[in-house]
């Protein structure tokens, strides 16, 4: 019998098909472990038919669409499986929306959105895969998106 490297979970979320090496960034985007006390399992460089991938299993937490958008910025091919009673109850592919509001800071230190103004950061999505976004205000493309997640 094939042994599972990380165990099945009773309820929660499984994020599959994360590009190899990006699982830690996904955890950071989800605010784990800061915002989460249940068990989180991470598998890095898991062999699959399509090459290596990372998997994250978060117990007792169903990721909502707002958070999914955040993940799509760095893991555009990821799938989100909502697990209830050991079964896959919902399955979603992450997809970048056309516009991203309030999720990531602009990396340009002289962009007006980084000053004391009553606006949320706003990015126009130039390309969904690979993800490329442009600041609505200064029109720059941020260098490391994951580092700027709010």
């Amino acid at each position: 019998m094939k042994e599972l490297k990380i165990p099945l979970i009773k309820s929660g979320t499984v994020i599959d098909h994360i590009a190899a090496g990006n699982a830690v960034k996904v955890l950071r985007i989800l605010g784990i472990p800061k915002t989460h006390s249940s068990t989180v399992s991470v598998a890095i460089n898991v062999r699959s038919r399509l090459g290596k991938k990372d998997i994250v299993k978060v117990e007792n937490r169903e990721i909502d669409p707002y958070e999914v958008n955040k993940i799509a910025l760095i893991a555009p091919k990821a799938t989100i499986n909502i697990i209830r009673d050991y079964e896959v109850a919902e399955k979603h592919k992450v997809e970048l929306p056309d516009e991203i509001v309030g999720i990531t800071h602009c990396s340009n230190p002289t962009c007006i959105s980084n000053y004391n103004e009553p606006v949320e950061s706003r990015f126009i999505v130039l390309s969904k895969d690979p993800p490329r976004i442009k600041c609505h205000y200064c029109e720059r493309e941020p260098e490391d998106i994951a580092e700027r997640i709010i």
Partner: protein, 331 residues
């Protein structure tokens, strides 16, 4: 006048009205040159020609009488501010505003959005220059009055771009296939970013000349490529201008450098003088958004190549055209 010329005039007027309705400039913000289609840019440039005699004071109009312009300059400016204010006055409108933000509530910590809300309630059109990139876009979100971006940090400067295009078309009759050399601070220089995009839109042949540390940002180069232009880059100015039609020089901007040492390393790298221009085409025009510091020797001013002062004047008719279009006071 014969019946045919009346019909011709009538058709021309109808066509003009049709284009105008399609363009719908009234109330529009001009934040980036990219907000305008090529058709719209052509219309603005064409309409600017009509403004030249008024800009020179040869004609008189009160088309914007009763309208107020807020001129908000959070950064120093000579040409942009004065030409906007001259443009509004030439159109019969009035100007309020400031050229020194330290004399405003910004000094007390007021946000830009609050300042814009105030200016919006006091005026019909707002011109803003600000050191932060994206400031004009943000201002447009807080004002009902049209916002004209007069430069936002190292970002965009669409009205400068339009007057540059107007200058090239006035001198060369076309932009397509013109060999244009952009020289100097291509990294921080906002005028060259907008201009490289617009020249690519028109199919000009572009060469970028700059010190290694001040090269054109990759985003701008990519935009040019997406528009079908393949700009070349070099640090050899002499070679680049050999068969050029336009040499567009920019100042190395001390105020944009995070590090004074980096500035000292590159300032004075290029100098345009009569010796250099000996190798150039007779019909090469030298443009510069000004102010210049050391990059153009004053001896060039007396040559037919020097076009920068005429270029600076062109700011008035082009800005008159924009003010007139966005406030709906067309001549």
């Amino acid at each position: 006048m014969s019946i045919f010329s009346w019909i011709k005039k009538f058709i021309k007027l109808l066509l003009y009205l049709f284009i105008l309705i399609r363009m719908n400039f009234r109330g529009r913000d001009i934040i980036s040159i990219k907000d305008l289609s090529k058709e719209e840019i052509n219309f603005i440039l064409d309409y600017s020609k009509k403004m030249v005699s008024y800009a020179k004071g040869e004609g008189y109009t009160e088309k914007l009488k009763g309208k107020v312009l807020s001129s908000l300059f959070f950064e120093p400016s000579t040409r942009t501010r004065l030409s906007f204010e001259s443009a509004m006055n030439r159109l019969g409108g009035r100007v309020i505003g400031f050229a020194d933000p330290t004399a405003t509530s910004q000094k007390k910590g007021e946000s830009l959005s609050d300042t814009i809300r105030m200016a919006d309630s006091y005026s019909d059109v707002i011109v803003i220059r600000h050191p932060q990139e994206g400031a004009a876009r943000l201002a447009a979100e807080f004002a009902d009055a049209p916002i004209l971006n007069a430069g936002d940090g190292a970002g965009r400067h669409p009205t400068q771009c339009l007057l540059d295009l107007f200058t090239i078309i006035s001198e060369k009759k076309k932009i397509e296939k013109q060999k244009v050399v952009l020289l100097g601070d291509l990294k921080y220089g906002r005028t060259v970013h907008s201009l490289a995009y617009a020249l690519s839109l028109y199919g000009a042949d572009l060469t970028f000349v700059s010190p290694e540390t001040l090269k054109m940002p990759k985003e701008v180069v990519n935009e040019c490529k997406e528009l079908g232009t393949e700009p070349s880059s070099t640090s050899n100015l002499e070679k680049a201008i050999k068969d050029a039609d336009v040499l567009y020089a920019t100042r190395i901007q001390k105020e944009r450098f995070p590090d004074a040492e980096e500035y000292n390393r590159v300032v004075g790298t290029y100098k345009i003088d009569n010796y250099l221009l000996k190798n150039a085409n007779d019909n090469l025009i030298v443009m510069h958004p000004l102010p210049r510091v050391t990059e153009i020797d004053p001896e060039v001013d007396r040559t037919p190549h020097a076009l920068y002062f005429k270029q600076a004047f062109n700011g008035v008719p082009v800005r008159m055209a924009l003010l007139s279009l966005v406030t709906g006071g067309m001549i």
